[in-house]
């Protein structure tokens, strides 16, 4: 019994200290982001890797998610003779929930895993030590620009996901299943308020922060070997997914 308690205690302490390290890592990345000299060029570069490079996968997933919503929404609403509400159902679902969450998943898979692998490899090949030895803070150089870039890129990607998704649902609902174009657009206009757009925006910004924070932390502290890099990549993706969903629950319960 005592052994079991000791194991639980040791595990809890390990998790708490890991959480503390993660928060300190984020804090120092934020403080260093605003300390001169600014890393404008690096931020632009990471806007490309996080934003532009994720665009195709976000477009594709947004379009197909919208089309699936078109089918499923039509099927459900038809039972209540409410097909004309398809526009509002698709728009609200995408703006409030599916847009931010699914685009966060896409960015995690496309860019977050690459971040963790890149930083992990840099750790294993002493490139991070080399930055320290050149008197360059690697958190300021490697992490802060990525965090700033993700805060900018994520809401933009989410907005694109939303627009493409709504268009996908429109194509299925109006083009294939015969919902009136006017009722689709009007339903959307009547149901969607600024609060819906705003809550999706808040979610996407916070998801961007979570993804970059987790993936950079895991990569930065990867054990310096090949298995360490793969382990860091896997952990960063899994933890990002879980944290995005948990944080999504809290934000939804606050902002609903």
């Amino acid at each position: 019994m005592l052994f079991l308690l000791r194991q639980i205690g040791a595990f809890t302490l390990r998790q708490l200290s890991e959480m503390g390290r993660m928060f300190l890592f984020l804090l120092s990345a934020f403080i260093l982001a605003f300390r001169p000299p600014g890393k404008f060029r690096l931020i632009v570069y990471h806007l490309k890797t996080i934003g532009v490079d994720s665009l195709s996968v976000v477009l594709l997933s947004g379009f197909f998610t919208g089309m699936v919503m078109g089918f499923q929404g039509y099927y459900s609403l038809r039972k209540f003779n409410a097909e004309s509400w398809l526009g509002s159902a698709a728009a609200l679902g995408l703006l409030r929930e599916l847009g931010p969450v699914l685009s966060a998943f896409m960015v995690t898979g496309r860019t977050g895993s690459a971040m963790a692998a890149e930083l992990g490899t840099m750790r294993a090949t002493e490139q991070i030590d080399a930055l320290y030895s050149m008197a360059i803070n690697p958190i300021k150089y490697l992490v802060s620009p990525r965090i700033i870039a993700s805060l900018i890129a994520m809401p933009l990607l989410t907005a694109i996901f939303d627009v493409v998704g709504i268009y996908g649902a429109y194509l299925i609902g109006v083009g294939l299943l015969g919902v009136s174009s006017g009722s689709y657009i009007a339903g959307m206009e009547n149901a969607v308020v600024f609060q819906d757009v705003y809550s999706g925006f808040i979610k996407s910004v916070s998801f961007g922060l979570i993804i970059t924070w987790v993936c950079c932390y895991k990569g930065f502290h990867a054990p310096p070997m090949a298995t360490g890099v793969s382990q860091a990549t896997t952990e960063s993706v899994v933890l990002s997914f879980v944290l995005v969903l948990v944080w999504d629950y809290f934000l939804t319960s606050i902002m609903l």
């Binding site: 090949t125 002493e126 490139q127 030590d129 080399a130 030895s133 050149m134 008197a135 360059i136 150089y141």
Partner: protein
């Protein structure tokens, strides 16, 4: 110039350094030899505080660098150049950008001044015209030379070499040794070389120290080291498995 005093370092339960005492003479090359895994790189990483000791001090001009605040620590690191074992070049940049990197990040030099200096250093290490290549496109020896150019580009007072010839053939290893000796004469830096390429490394060393069983067993001028009667030195030089150095 640099003094290591009673340095202890453990990783979990494994004690690597058990009270290392060593002094590095200004403007000279000191080589630390020892068996693989004995803690040479760990000791080297304490010299510019990439690792912090569990106990002990590293004095640089009388100041204990293990107690420095972060800002002072970064200033102190600016006095060092480091050639890492695998060169540790940033693989997202060309060789030119790698060598220019510390100048762009830490100085206010103009791009034309940086270009001139980087080209000069690349020439000195025999990599003229190779600046446009990426690290992945270079051989191991060329990467080491590029790493050396980066280590020297800021005109550091102290240069740390972590196994600069590991994995290279004897001819290439000799050329790297010559390069270290030649650049040391040109720039007059204090060199600390970690190596087990013996006896070749003695040719470029002014002083040699042997790290074994977690402590410095012997530290002498290079010409005296080879003829030392210390059984640890003799076992290492002869490559014997039996003796005071615990190998397995």
């Amino acid at each position: 110039m640099i003094r290591v005093i009673d340095l202890h370092k453990s990783f979990r339960s494994q004690k690597v350094l058990k009270g290392v005492n060593l002094e590095f003479v200004k403007g000279k090359i000191t080589t630390i030899v020892g068996t693989s895994g004995c803690g040479k790189t760990v000791l080297l990483k304490h010299l510019n505080a990439l690792l912090l000791p569990d106990k002990g001090a590293v004095l640089m001009d009388g100041v204990d660098i293990t107690k420095l605040r972060q800002k002072e620590l970064y200033e102190m690191r600016g006095r060092f150049g480091v050639l890492f074992q695998g060169a540790a070049l940033l693989d997202s940049m060309t060789i030119f950008d790698n060598v220019a990197f510390p100048l762009r990040e830490k100085t206010r030099m103009s791009e034309s001044e940086i270009r001139k200096k980087v080209d000069e250093r690349l020439d000195q290490v025999g990599l003229e015209g190779m600046g446009y290549k990426y690290p992945a496109e270079l051989s191991g020896g060329m990467r080491k030379r590029a790493g050396l150019a980066r280590a020297l580009v800021t005109d550091p007072e102290i240069v740390l070499f972590d196994e600069p010839t590991t994995g290279l053939d004897p001819i290439l290893a000799a050329s790297i040794h010559q390069l270290i000796a030649r650049t040391q004469k040109t720039f007059g830096f204090t060199g600390v070389v970690v190596s087990h390429t013996i006896p070749q490394v003695f040719d470029i060393s002014d002083y040699v120290a042997i790290l074994a069983n977690g402590v410095i067993e012997e530290a002498k001028p290079a010409n005296e080291f080879l003829v030392s009667k210390n059984p640890v030195v003799q076992q290492f030089i002869r490559g014997e498995t039996e003796g005071p150095i615990h190998v397995l």
